[in-house]
Amino acid sequence: MKQQVGTIVGSSVHLTGAIKDASDIQIFGSVEGEVSSDQKIIIEESAYVKGPINASEVIVSGRVNGTINAKERIELNPTGSIKGNVDTQNLLIHSGATFIGKSVMPEKNAEGDSGKDFDFEKEVETETEEEVDLEKEKEEQDK
């Protein structure tokens, strides 16, 4: 048998428990439990994963029910679906994909404005037409 690098879960396999690999993991079948890799995890279209996923990069084309923690990036393809929270630096969601959950991204601490928080709730003061008319009347009376 020629040795292949990484783990492959075939479409006829149902796996329960925690799988861990230093190299890539590719899933075509179903997995119930934690999936961890130091490199890439690929969830193919026919795959279903129920449990947390931890890797450097995660590509989802199948269904995931659980949290995903990817150090570098998560890509959700059009056929993919994630039900759970994601934590990553780069999140790419293609049109047609389903994502139900919360996304957490680390704040960028780079120099410049990019690091500054923007307060969306701060009210912007605007003057109505009536207020403008009243001000004009006051000015005329003063004269």
Partner: protein, 252 residues
Amino acid sequence: MYYYIFENPKTPTQRTFFEKLRDIAREFGIAGEITQASPARSPEELTKMALEKNFNTIVAIGNDLHVNRVAAEIVRQNTQFQVALGIISTDPESMLYERWGFKKPEDACETLKFRKLERFDVGLVEPDHYFLTSVKIECKRPSRISLEVDHWKADAVVDRVEISGNLYILLERFYREQSTLKQAMGWLVGKSNVSADRSVFKGKMIRISSSEPQSVLIDTQEITKTPISIYRKPNALNIITRRDRIIKDLHS
């Protein structure tokens, strides 16, 4: 001192190769005791005899099954002194040939003379079946098997299971093209009508059970039936490997 265990030659070509190898070994100064396995003397018996005579280099010459039987006996005997295994694989289609196959007997003798040793893992099928190559389960029809590996369990329908000595697990399920038209098209364009669904895992301890007992083979020899437990014995064998080749400077 070298102790040579030849496989019983199956073809005249193989017999000639073996004779040539004996002569060249003498020329290289690595001649030793020469034995040949036969129905009367198994490779295991010959290995045991070599170890009793305190030979520290045993050379197995033959196909995977022959080499495996010699290797397994060395591990099983667990001698006090360090034993090196030399391998000369004679089957170009085999797993060992890639690493220990030699086109010329001179190359084989040079490797044996240089005696560069590397430690290798071997697999153990309980109770005492050691293997250097792989263990196979070949089902006559798709069968449901259960795997228990380290921290996980898996159920799968498979046609074939193969586990190597360092416990890489390969599960295969074959699908034949049902449509006659597509079969014909595949035949015309030289495309195979059989596709395979493969799973690859790694483990340290494996337990395999199946819905119905399946034969477990080491090479072509049936050793037991499922359920089985397989372990890895790390660094169990010292094997003589090829010398590293110095790559010539591209500009020279």
